[in-house]
Each structure stands twice: as structure tokens, then as C-alpha cells.
Symmetry: C2
Subunit: 476 residues, 2 copies
Amino acid sequence: MTRPYDIAAFRALIGPIKCEDNPVLVKQKSRDFYWYSPVLKRQLEPVTADLVVTPQDERQVATILAAAHELAIPVTARGGGTGNYGQAMPLDGGVLLNLIEMNRILAIAPGRVVCEPGALLADIDKAAAASGQELRMFPSTRATASIGGFIAGGSGGVGSITWGGLRDFGNVLRLRVMTMEASPRTLELTGADLHKAVHAYGTNGIITEVEMPLTAAYDWVDVIVGFDSFDAAAAYGLALGEQDGILKKLVTVIAAPAPARYFLRHRSIIPEGKSVVLAMVAPHALDAFEAFTRPVKGAELLFVSSRAPRETLAGLPPNYELAWNHTTLRALRVDPKITYLQVRYPEDGGLAMIRRIHERFGDEAVGHLEIIRFNGRIGFAGLPLVRFTTEERLQALIDEHEAMGAMVFNPHRYTLEEGGMKQTDATQLAFKRDTDPQGLLNPGKMIAWADPDFDYASGQNFLFPGLEARALAAQS
Amino acid sequence: MTRPYDIAAFRALIGPIKCEDNPVLVKQKSRDFYWYSPVLKRQLEPVTADLVVTPQDERQVATILAAAHELAIPVTARGGGTGNYGQAMPLDGGVLLNLIEMNRILAIAPGRVVCEPGALLADIDKAAAASGQELRMFPSTRATASIGGFIAGGSGGVGSITWGGLRDFGNVLRLRVMTMEASPRTLELTGADLHKAVHAYGTNGIITEVEMPLTAAYDWVDVIVGFDSFDAAAAYGLALGEQDGILKKLVTVIAAPAPARYFLRHRSIIPEGKSVVLAMVAPHALDAFEAFTRPVKGAELLFVSSRAPRETLAGLPPNYELAWNHTTLRALRVDPKITYLQVRYPEDGGLAMIRRIHERFGDEAVGHLEIIRFNGRIGFAGLPLVRFTTEERLQALIDEHEAMGAMVFNPHRYTLEEGGMKQTDATQLAFKRDTDPQGLLNPGKMIAWADPDFDYASGQNFLFPGLEARALAAQS
Ligand SMILES: Cc1cc2nc3c(=O)[nH]c(=O)nc-3n(C[C@H](O)[C@H](O)[C@H](O)COP(=O)(O)OP(=O)(O)OC[C@H]3O[C@@H](n4cnc5c(N)ncnc54)[C@H](O)[C@@H]3O)c2cc1C
Ligand SMILES: Cc1cc2nc3c(=O)[nH]c(=O)nc-3n(C[C@H](O)[C@H](O)[C@H](O)COP(=O)(O)OP(=O)(O)OC[C@H]3O[C@@H](n4cnc5c(N)ncnc54)[C@H](O)[C@@H]3O)c2cc1C
């Protein structure tokens, strides 16, 4: 990896397209929420692009990609920059392609929205509301994240209790993707081909247009149910998830002491010592929700937003901003020592495993579950809040989870593979060969490309050579 | 059970309310689809009411119930008369309360419709379409069945693949129910109380108003996928059901030779020897559906309604009129010897059990599965097409199913309990005591009321004494 790149020549080639080269501002835009992880925080600290380029339309994207291709300058896409694994961080410098101003909403029809990649999830929902529709799912960063970034860097979230994950068939309808070549092509991906660019961290083409499914919009009611034990809360959360007739968009389980300790604005609502279930329930399902909840032993209805006085609601974040990675965020704000894991528990025996793990780690890994639909079943995704001490202890925690039968998607890794299935994704790799033959898109994120012989069984972490060089340079 | 009732006095009491006493017409309206079952056909043949009364509003219902109560005349509610267990048949004669003209749609809001009980399911959907909405589920008799009859006599159907059954929390929002007393009261049932009148065959009050949940409406696409084996079709149907992101309203599996033999209008579409999966897929999910289906070994896409030429579509019933009990109906029309069972297979190991049962019975019980959501999981409900020989053999078939681990809801019984869980429903019984103290609503359908000491373990069928008396009278 040789730097510096010929940025001056690049600017000459792209002409009047909006650029920013102020190093402070460039560094700002070269960051995401990687600091959620103390490991990534250490590793990615020195990362910065050379230039931020902000196209206004697909033609400008084509100009930028052609120019970068000609000069062999890496290009890393960025939407809202809310990724939490350093997905949008340009490990090898170069051009930061800021897509947030390509945010037009192009068409809304029954069940569908077509828009540009930089559209914020909240803005898409606002636009869809006129037809009584909304997106099936959004990350808890709805207010600031882009649809392109969600598709390329996210996996699911609020709504996954009903619809499963982003990678499931049907949850993305169509992507228009631009290739990184001398003459960039635009490809329309549908069906099984979507997998080539969904959750590829922008290594497989630049998404210039998306078509997403819509569903019926409701004024979701936030409810909070308190329990004296995490175990009881988890069992209730699962059972609520399994109620097919109670339409909901979120069911989150968070163990004490986290809720009272970290949800500062909810202090008058959530007593100390309570584990909670947070849910978003459709207004017309509220009665059924309460009928279901009332007889549950130990369940205490702490909050129902549709009945809360205006004064109470005023300062309160919505439930979804207490859930998913917002739980981690709120914990981090109170206690900077907090980090997290991402865990999948098996469908059968999941509750018992969660109980065992919770008992084993106590306060070192406070339970946080998201109830989701997965392959037709309701199950648990875990985002436990971890009290960080050392990287070694963090790894030990992961190993112990796996030894107990849970599956860990390591959020302390910046590569696709190590944060995911720890194996080469042959489809994505083949697509990269076809669409980014020089490997210029977001270098270092796809191990299969950077180091085809990498041995996942070795126990070693992948270290992108470009990043290592950078780290050395920074130290000297 | 003493008859005749004082019908003249009754008519005097109800004044100008619409009545019909022509015996031929009364007998017609005293029938439903009970003849699906050769057993019920034999038992219920002589059943008829004395008078059909057709109220136009709730006030008239109150007048009718008060008059019948005063004169101790049984009252049996009827909607569309499409029940297939004789639910709406007045075993003890008396008044047939025909609610089909109370069919006003009173309000439609996001997620909700309020209407009178006689509204046809198809008409509710038509009215809801203006707001882009439709009912969550309907029986395959959508065109002729009433919402009140569906709630009181049905259990689920088209839409249950997404929403579960009618009795699940949230699938009925509110019922207004009138009691059978000297001064009939109206009760508003919500939450857990709904269970008192849902699927009570009109023995627990007369439903005078319903509030049902609505969901987003789509121009559902009918698809038919062919397979060379029932086993492969069932496995595919289950897997399709488990695709959380592919929005569908129906997934039905039917074994060869039934589809080619009984779906006469589909002869040019379904080749002989094919087992099929019928599905209704949202238009925006069609691409994902095809991407999911294409790699499935042996799956052959036989039909996609949105791509079929107009001429092909002209004479074709929609997929849902090939499914649920319409499968049985079409088989019966071709071969009057056909009857059916209602089976639930366990979630775990269901496929293997279905295979074993299918192998065991061959053509005597041709496989028909409805893929539904049940307690948060995708599973199989079975409606196998049975070649009827004798009642003894039919019972043996049921016993053998149960011995192999499947659960049979016997559709050859006219009582709530024998067609259901074979035990007293304490909540419904208590509600009946409170709201119909004389037991005048649809007598003979609730064993718990008619014969509290009935022993389900005895192996005997319940025989309603009133009906026996009638049968004897008819023979003499
Ligand atoms: C508080 C918090 C909560 C979160 N909750 C969730 C959650 O519930 N669910 C979830 O899935 N994630 C969650 N995340 C992660 C992240 O917010 C989501 O993935 C989010 O959708 C990213 O969108 P973004 O626009 O910020 O993307 P960015 O961070 O800007 O980019 C994400 C990735 O997508 C690539 N990319 C961006 N735009 C394009 C494009 N047009 N073409 C090609 N590649 C592109 C980038 O290169 C990068 O690899 C959370 C993060 C935080 C900090
Ligand atoms: C071809 C065919 C297909 C079918 N498919 C399905 C299916 O997919 N799913 C399903 O669940 N069922 C199905 N059924 C059964 C039946 O069609 C449904 O249950 C249907 O919804 C009944 O509606 P109805 O108006 O015809 O009711 P009816 O047959 O008139 O009445 C049904 C029961 O409800 C009671 N009742 C009616 N109105 C009221 C009222 N206002 N208050 C109190 N009680 C009342 C009656 O006394 C009776 O006990 C099918 C039947 C046939 C013949």
C-alpha cells in the first residue's frame, strides 16, 4: 500500500464536485462509532481519509469512481457514519465518498419506496406516512443513519421481530450499484443477487439507488414492563414475541441494574433493581397486549406512552432509542468502561442457556436481548453490556460464551468475516472480482480479498497491512 | 325437550320484525355445510327450525331474544350458513336468527374496522380497500361467510400464515354481545374476555357488533408450484412459510392426485401426478419468492397470476378457493365419497410424521396441509381428503392418526368440545351460566352445559337428547 495518492490529479479529474480537504473535517468524516469497541478504538485511532467528496447524483458518483480508478485511489463510502465496527472508516486513506446529500425520495407505491442511498431512515418514514406506510425495519439510529449505510453496514433492528433480518429474502427489493472500474457500470440487483451488495460494507460497488419494502404505518405505543429477575423478563419477552396476533415492532429485554442506571431520563419510570421489557405495540394491539401481560406473574406495567401525561413524554426518548445499540450507547455515556458483545442463542433451549450465561458472568456481562424472528421462529439476539478490563479478558469472555454453546458475532473486529460467519463469502468475493478488480472499495474490510489464505481457525485476528503501516507511521 | 313451541305467541311479541315460516325455506336456512361429513349428514338430516327471523338492527335482536326467552324457545344464530360442522343448525328447532341483513360497516380507521355481524368478509375487505387496508384473515368462504359467523364458528384461514388463529390475542379486538335473558343486556368484550364468545358457536350471546384488526391490503399474486412428491412439496411449503421477509397470505400443500383430479378449471395448469403448493404472495414479494423458489430441487413454477394472460385468468377461481375447506369442497364435487379430517402435527418432527402418515394411508387419506403460524412458529394444519367407506373405518383412521402422534380435531362432531379440545371450557361455561341461564342459545352444541358429567374418555360420542327425539320422531 503506497501513499500518498495523487489527490491533486484526482481533484482535477472530478472538476466542480463538492470536496472537503480540511484535515480536521476530513478526520471527523472518517470516523464512525468504532469507539464502541475499546479494541477498534485502539486500532483505528489513526485512520483518516485524504479527501471527502460529496456527490449530488449518480453521474457525479460515476465521475468520482472513474477518476479514483484511474489513479488507484481507495474509495470508502459513508452514509450517516453510525456504523459501530469502523465499517465506514478508510483504513487505507484515499477518498471518503460521502453519500448523505444524495437523499432524494424518488417514488412511493403500495409496499415500495425507491430512493437515493443517503436518505435518512426517519425521512423515508416521514415521506411514506402520507400513504399510511413505513419501512419494515430500521436501526435504532433511525434519526441519523442512511438507508444505503443500513443496507451495506447494518443487519436489522426495530421491526426484525416481525420481518427478520435485512439479509432475508424480501427485506430489500432492489439495489442499483455502481462498479469501481475505468468506466463504472450500473447494475440492478434483485432476488438472490442482492446478497452481493447487502452487508458488504461498501466493498462491492456503490449503492446509488435502493428499493425497499414498506408496510402499514402505525403510531406505535411504547410500553415498559418491569420484572424482578432477568430470567422472568426474558421468558416474558419470548412469549410476547410468540404472540402472532399482537402486532409489535420491538421487544427488548434488559437486565437490572442497567435500566435504572443508564436510562437517565426514565429514572422516575423504572425503579432500581428492575429488569425490563421494552416494546413497541400497534395501537390496535394494545388491549390484547395488556390482556396477555396482566396474568403474567411478576410483570409490572411501568409505562404506556399513549396514556402518559404530556409532561412525562416531553423529555423522553422513544423506546427504540433505548434498544439495540442505543442500549450500549446509553450505558457508555454513564460508564465509559462499558462495551458489548453480539450473541445468538439457539432456538431450542435458548432461555436456559441465557440463564446459565447470566449467572456465570453476573455484572461483568449484563443481559440485553433483542427478540427477533429468525428463519420463521422467534428467538434471541444478545447484546450484553460488558464491563471492559483488558482485551484478553474480552476474548476470554467470547470464548466462554462459545464454550457454553452461544454464537458470538465479534463486534470488536473491522472485517466482514470476523464480525460475521468467520468464513469466505464466495458470492461476495466473486462479485468483488467482477466489479472492483483493483480492490479499491473500502480496502481491508474483506479478508477473502485482502488475504485469501487467512486461516480463521488459527485464533489470530486479521490485521490489514495498510492499517499496520499507518499505525507504525503514527507511532514514529 | 318439549315441542311444539308457541310460535304464534312469539310472532305476536316481536311484531313487525321480518319472519319466514315457509317450511321449505325454513329448512333451507336451517342447513349449513354439515354434509361435508357423512356422519353429520346422517345425524342432522331431520334438523329444522320452526321460524326464521331476520332482524335489521340490535334493537330488533333484543326484542327477539326477550320474546324467545319469555316463551322458552331456542334461538340459533346464523350468518352465511357456511359452517361445516352443523354449527348453525338448530338441533332443537325453534327460532333461526338470521343475522345476514345486519351488515352495515360502521367505521374504518388505521388498523381497525367496526361492523355489524352479518357483513360478508369480502364486503368488509371491499370497504377497507379505500384506506389501503384489509382483514388480517378470512375463511376460504370469504365471498359468502359473515364476520359474525367466522368469529363464532371459524378458527382462522387465509392469513393465518402471518397472524395465527382467530382465537389468538389481537385477532379480534372487540365484540358487542347480547345476552339471552328476560331483558337482554349488551356486553362489550375485549382482551381475555373475548374468549367467552369467540368460537362458541353462538351458544354464548348473540354478537351484534364486531371490531376487527386490519392490515395493509395488497393485490395478492396467486402462485402454484409443482412437485413430484408430496414430501418435497411439504418441505418446500414449510420453508416458504419460514421466510420471514416474503410477505404471503396463504401457503397450502396438496398431494397428488388431488390437484389435477379436483381442480377442474386448473387442468391446463396442473399436470397429473403433481403435488402442489398454492400461495398468495404480496406483489412486492414476488421477486424474492421466485429467488427463493428457483434453486429448490424439483420445484416447478406452474402459475403466476400476475403474469397469466387475461384469457387464462377469466375462468379461474382464486388460489384461496382451492385451499382450506375449499379443497374438500372441490374434491366432493368430483367425488361425493370424499370427506376429510382436521389434524395438527407437532412443530418438531412434523414433516417426518406427515411423511409416515402419508405413506401409511396412501390414497385413503390424500395429504392436504395448510401452513400456519401457531404460537410464534410456522407449522402444519392438516385437512387430508379422506375416501369415506364406513363410520367405523373413519373412526379407525382418526385413532390411527392419534396413535401416530397427530392431534385430530374431529370435524364429524357437532359439539364444541368434541370438535375441539375434548374438555370443558370453564370460561365459556361460566359465561353461558351468566348470559343464557335457560340454555336457549343453540342448544346441544356445548356438552358442558347439556351434560356436565359427560365422560370424554369413554370413547362414546355425545348425542344431544333433543336431536335423538327428533330422529326418532322422523323415523316413526
Ligand atoms: C447507537 C447505535 C445504534 C445502532 N443500532 C443498530 C441497529 O439497530 N441495527 C443495525 O443493523 N445497526 C445498528 N447500528 C449500526 C449502524 O447504525 C447501522 O448499521 C446504520 O444503519 C448505518 O447507517 P449509516 O448511514 O450510518 O452507515 P455508515 O456507518 O455511514 O456506513 C455503514 C457501511 O455502509 C457502507 N455504505 C454506506 N453507504 C453506502 C452506499 N451508498 N453504497 C455502498 N456502501 C455504503 C459504508 O462504507 C460502511 O461500510 C447502530 C449503531 C449505533 C451507533
Ligand atoms: C368451502 C368452505 C371453506 C371453509 N373454509 C374455512 C376456513 O378457511 N377457515 C375457517 O375458519 N372456516 C372455514 N369454513 C367454515 C365456515 O365457512 C367459516 O367458519 C365461516 O366463517 C362461517 O361463517 P358463516 O357466516 O357462514 O357462519 P354460519 O355458518 O352461519 O355460523 C357459524 C357459527 O356461528 C354462529 N353465529 C353466526 N352468527 C353469529 C352471531 N352474530 N352471533 C353469535 N353466533 C353467531 C352460528 O350459530 C354458528 O354456530 C369453511 C367452510 C366451507 C364450507
